[in-house]
Amino acid sequence: MGITASPNWQGWLIAYFFFGGIAAGAYFIAGLLELIGSERDREIARGAYYLAFPLLVLCSLFLIADLHRPERFWHMLIQSDTFWPMFKYWSPMSVGSWILSAFGAASFVSFADALAEDGRFGLGRLGSWARMMRLSPAGKLFAVLEMLAAYGLAAYTGVLLSATNVPFWSNTNLLGALFMASAASTGIAALILIMGRRVAHDSLAKLETADTLAMALELVVMIGFVASLGSLASRFVTNKYGLIMLIGTGGAGLVLPLILRLLPKSWGQNAAVVSALLVLVGGLLLRYGILNAGQSLTIRVD
């Protein structure tokens, strides 16, 4: 073990994994609310739409910046010699490029829809038409597509890491599941932060319940992830970056905010804000820890 070279995926990709996860998690919940939520909960979906598309644009820039030949970013989607579409369903990065495009298109439509609903940028006159579309069967179908695109964006990055020969990453099949759970917990935490003062108190409570469940899932998947490493589990829990993930994400980013949620309601708004912030920091440390733990056992040349 340990003769794989380091792909040297650092800052840009950590930032992408983190913000992409937030966008995907928030958008996933928004799609779900379009399908089953009450009219009052739609406020939350709208908040997610204002979050998802701008974050997606930011993420695309991070990804392009990470390339060593950024001017060739379009080679991911278009074959540079034939100009036919470039797609390899067995390569997660290739699939991910298309997922990112699909998410971009869908979240742009949702973003425009939110603008129309709020009557911004002169889109107000489309508001009633947008509302009609949203309530039609096509609107419901679109909500399903929202959820699918969000799931893809949240999970493919984890699948991508496992589809390598880097230690830790390639020894588990749970990174996609872990990133999905983390996308949900951080996405909802971001919604709590930006929507906290705008939505009704009960809507916020629902968001917190959903977040608590996502965090519990993330904690379970994280334990499963370490267990799935088998003989490498002991190396992971003694690795510097492994510890950052376990203590930073597992402890400070999941267990601590879960305890805060259980505190008496008198803590009120502050506890909600603090725990949401902790979840976000934990989500960032998750990406930082996983990416660096694997690469710390590879060969570095440069």
Binding site: M1, N8, I36, W90, V159
Partner: protein, 299 residues
């Protein structure tokens, strides 16, 4: 495949001269990395010693597409005996009971190549000679292939390198082969440790050599990558005199795509649970609202 070409490297006759590395650097116009090497004697001096036997290359890099490994073994087994437990401890300080394993490492041009599999731009292709080749004008420097290769072969081209920012590795001298020439390293090898030819011919030769070595009393002689067990077969395969790990070769490298279906299924399960959790949170509260809000009841 009958038209597959590649290398058979017989490590038993490698003398560690590094002529293959020099030939590779010359033909492919790879710079010598001198300016990147901090030297106490000032710039332009020879690079410092690694302290690892006669290996001062260290590892593959964007300009080192071949790498002669020197593995120092103490406890030399007597001829005709199997080394029960060979110790791979650091060098014997007196060098009086020492054996070298030398091996010229290179891209394996795998039949099921992990780098080619993951490459999202189609820059990595399989040529008409069944070798694995990176098209420099297509590569956009995403580095997925770097982490996919289980042999640490691929590295990113640095500044001052032709094709800066793209993935670099052995081309099996694709340009020479298109003109019927032998790859530079095999041509330069003075002991025929590196042999070039059609894979089917090389395999026959290698199997005979293993048989001869077994008959001569070297039962540890074994082929690495000649059958399909390792990534469907390696078009650059080796005759080794110890276990692959001793040479720093993985005994069971993984094909990236193997992870895609199970990882995707687990992630779907995770997404389903997230959806169920959110469903519970939002449905439950709706019911509670309904129960406590008399106005809602009347509706």
């Amino acid at each position: 495949m009958s038209d597959a070409y590649g290398f058979y490297t017989d490590t038993t006759v490698c003398i560690g001269c590094k002529a293959c590395q020099v030939a590779c650097h010359q033909w492919n116009e790879l710079p010598a990395e001198l300016e990147q090497q901090p030297s106490e004697h000032g710039p332009g001096q020879t690079r410092p010693m690694t302290g690892n036997s006669y290996d001062n290359t260290g590892s593959f890099s964007d300009v080192n597409w071949r790498h002669v490994k020197f593995i120092e073994k103490s406890d030399i087994p007597a001829v005709g005996t199997t080394p029960a437990s060979v110790s791979h401890s650091p060098q014997d300080p007196n060098r009086d009971n020492l054996q070298w394993l030398m091996m010229s490492d290179v891209c394996k041009h795998c039949v099921n190549a992990p780098c080619l599999e993951v490459c999202p731009t189609g820059a990595i292709i399989r040529t008409e000679f069944d070798s694995v080749y990176i098209q420099e004008p297509v590569c956009n420097g995403c580095r997925n292939c770097v982490g996919a290769c289980p042999f640490g072969v691929i590295h990113m081209g640095g500044s001052g390198n032709a094709g800066q920012g793209t993935a670099k590795k052995c081309t099996l001298c694709y340009d020479r082969m298109q003109h019927g020439l032998t790859p530079a390293c095999a041509q330069a090898c003075p002991t025929e440790s590196i042999q070039f030819g059609k894979i089917i011919d090389l395999k026959v030769r290698a199997e005979q050599r293993v048989k001869d070595l077994h008959d001569l009393g070297f039962p540890q002689a074994q082929l690495y990558g000649a059958d399909t067990k390792i990534l469907g077969g390696l078009n650059s395969f080796y005759l080794l005199m110890d276990q692959p790990e001793v040479y720093g070769l993985p005994s069971n490298p993984k094909l990236p795509s193997r992870a895609v279906i199970p990882s995707t299924l687990f992630s779907m399960g995770s997404a389903l649970l997230v959806a169920l959790g959110a469903l519970f949170a939002f449905r439950k509260k709706r019911m509670d609202e309904f129960a406590t809000d008399p106005a809602a009841k009347e509706r």
